[in-house]
């Protein structure tokens, strides 16, 4: 009998001790913010285009962390949806067409002789990728442009074009090989 009491007492003291320790740790080492938001934000393409309906990638990451759908990011496309599904352990869904379709990477180009220097596009650019001053010609820093097309609408003279990013020798990579279905697909005689 005494053994059982001793065991219960020991276990009780231990559980109290560890409970206090855990309680202390949960207060003392509470992480700031939601770490999952950071991870989601790292997967999103950071175009800051707002096509998801949120003002930037981070707000969308927060929304996803709070249970919003993961298929609202057209610039990220399928790979982003798959990565998010993997991270959050949810079923991948097809891209929600309401928010746009997956397009090849684009870059904004200002037709410079038509630019009137109104600075409207500069204010619209979420990543400061347009340089220029009032009544001076503007131009896009192509390397920094995320292709969000937020600058296209504000332009009063419609002199901004979104063009697909050209593949250069530095950005060219091998394609996935086509699987030949039958022998003559490869040209064998």
């Amino acid at each position: 009998m005494i053994t059982i009491l001793v065991a219960i007492a020991a276990l009780g003291i231990l559980s109290l001790l560890f409970g206090a320790l855990l309680g202390f740790a949960s207060v003392k080492f509470r992480p700031e913010g939601n770490p999952i938001v950071e991870q989601i934000d790292a997967i999103l393409p950071q175009t800051q285009c707002g096509q998801c309906g949120y003002p930037g990638c981070r707000p969308y990451a927060e929304a996803i962390a709070n249970g919003d759908d993961i298929n609202k990011c057209p610039p990220g496309g399928e790979s982003t949806i798959l990565a998010l599904a993997d991270l959050l352990d949810v079923e991948p869904q097809p891209l929600d067409a309401e928010h746009g379709t997956e397009k090849p990477k684009q870059v904004a180009i200002i037709r410079e002789d038509e630019c009137i220097g109104c600075t409207k596009c500069i204010q619209a650019c979420p990543v400061d990728a347009i340089v220029g001053a009032a009544k001076q010609m503007h131009t896009v820093i192509a390397d920094e442009c995320t292709g969000c097309d937020l600058c296209v609408d504000p332009c009063p003279v419609d002199c901004i074009d979104m063009v697909p990013v050209e593949t250069t020798l530095n950005t060219w990579y091998w394609n996935k090989p086509d699987a030949n279905i039958i022998a003559t697909d490869g040209g064998r005689q």
Binding site: Q48, V127, E144, A179, N180
Partner: protein
Amino acid sequence: MNAIAKQVWALPGGIHPPENKHQSTASAIAEPFIPTELVLPLSQHIGSPSKVVVAVGDAVLKGQLLAECQGNVSAAVHAPTSGVISAIENRAIPHASGMSAMAIVLKPDGKDQWRERQPWQNWRDMPRDDIFARIAAAGVIGLGGAGFPTATKLGFDPERINTLVLNGTECEPYITADDMIMRERADEIIAGAQIMADLLQVERVLIGIEDNKPEAIAAMQAAIPDSLAARFIIKTFATKYPSGGEKQLIWILTGQEVPSGRIPADLGIVCQNVGTAAALYRAVVQDEPLISRITTVTGDAVGQLGNREVLIGTPMNELLEAHNVDWQKADRLVMGGPMMGVALADAKVPVIKTTNCLLLPTRKELPLAGPEMPCIRCGHCEQACPAGLLPQQMLFYAKNKELERLEQQNLFDCIECGACAYVCPSDIPLVQYYRFGKGEIRREQAEHEKSERAKARFEARQARLEAEKAEKEAKRQARAEAARKAAEAKKKEGSAAPAAIAKATSKVAAQSGPIDIAALEKAVASAQAKVDQAIVKLNEAKETDPGNLPAYERALGKFEEKLAKAKTALTEGKAKADDPVERAKRQAAAKAAGVGPSVADLEKKVATQRQRLQKIAEKLKAAQDNGDDTSAIEKGMQATQARLNKAQAELDKAKAEQAPADDVGAKAIAAAKEAAAKRAAGIGPSADELRGKVAKQQERLAKIEQKLADAQAAGEDVSAIEKGRDATAKRLEKMQAELAQLEE
């Protein structure tokens, strides 16, 4: 000793494909020819493209600089023959993508006229830096295939390097360019290797040659002078593909494995191709930049198989036609060998510095791979892999785009030799999958980098916008504050007349909370005066104008109403004024306004001082009654009295200022208040009161003296009484002094 020196280590994995080398070794290296035009891409090497230094229309001499190095890892481009620059434009280049790139187009004039050269037969006497400069300026790059600028590779700290490996392996089938250059120009190779060894200050030079090149081995052995025999060691080993890979050759020759993600220099080894050594010799000793190379032209569709020294930039179709190619028989054009070469879509691309072989096989000779069949997990690929990787796993991950796992399988250690695909019974194009996987990983890395940058820029922008907003808000507030201050200053300026002060203070009080009791009292007084007047008038009207009596009564009612209102306002204001917060606010407002304490404030101050004084007097009395020492209390009372006097003086002054415009009523109220305050305080500074007090004190003193006398008569202890008498006497004296002061 010799046996140990010649020791080699067996290459793990590897394959034995048909060599097909004999076709192109039958004839000697053919002389270069001058084509109709030369196309010189600016990026024939690994690193940044070179920078054009000539213009279209410029006449250039053979060996003249056309494009210089740009950045640390780069290589210059020179004119392979004399002629005129006809264009600098985008041209198709020999690249798997089939893309075009910037190139200088040279129209030869046929004279093949050299620029002035300064051969250095005595290169050993030249300063090290000069030799480096000459190598860097000569545009020499690794001719084995990768095209890494040689100057960069030789620029390692000599302390770090102990071995130079000369790669004469040439393991890939069909290609014999290195074989032929070793046979015919062994002395140039050895001389070039000597320069390299001198620059790197290495003890030993290991020359690796496969045993299927006996003529080359013999020629190289013969070219090594006796003086160098101890340092230059030729190691021969069994033919096996891909022994010629840099890391594979280092393993075979030294038994050392280059760690994953590292370079041979980390083991103290630098590896150079034999062709590169020969080119280096020509560059340093003969001052001939890299303008030509040995290229093997082979395959069953070629009529005249063999090696040729080709000017860099020669269009491939012209070179192939010089070798009597049967375009009908040719299935495809491969640059490089059958294992690692790339098929080119266009034969009009130029031969570049890394073009070691042009292979034109017939379809029968090199059939295309069959349809890809499923992996049966036979494991042959794993045994063939010279890098010790797991080709099957990498295949699955690449197919499913599991890039992270692909990377974990050390995909980047794959040298793309194709041994795995060669042995695959299912004809799976494994290398293509690996290339695809590498591309995807690099693309993803680039995208990630860009998105990180975009994020940083976005966040910086957000921070900037917020800062701007905060700054604007601060400015706006500062402006509002300045405007308010300016308005107040104006008010103050305009209020030279004391009436204006009263008005302004009352206004401030009405606007911003602080309550001006004086103004309220004034209002009450004036209302009272009006009521009094109305009563007087009413009484008069009773006698003189009884008909209009109701009107007078109405007027009186109105005035009474106003008086009531003013009175409530005053009580409210007083109640508020007693609130310490309100008081503090009022003082602060008064201070901010720079007006100084109002009359009401001063009155309040005086009253407070009086109250304090009274309290002190009570204390003193208590102390005296107890017979305690009262000097400290008396001192405090004096100080309080002084403060009271000062406050009173201030009040008088303020009242004097205010007086001319002040209402009679307000004065009356003030006077009444003063009296009330005096009453409340109990002791006033007035002479009459003091006199009364002095009289009382004298009475008290008399009483005490009487007591003392009685006590002395009774023989009691009189010390306490004496003490009390002394204190009372002192106090009396003080009061008399005060009285005297007052009467003065």
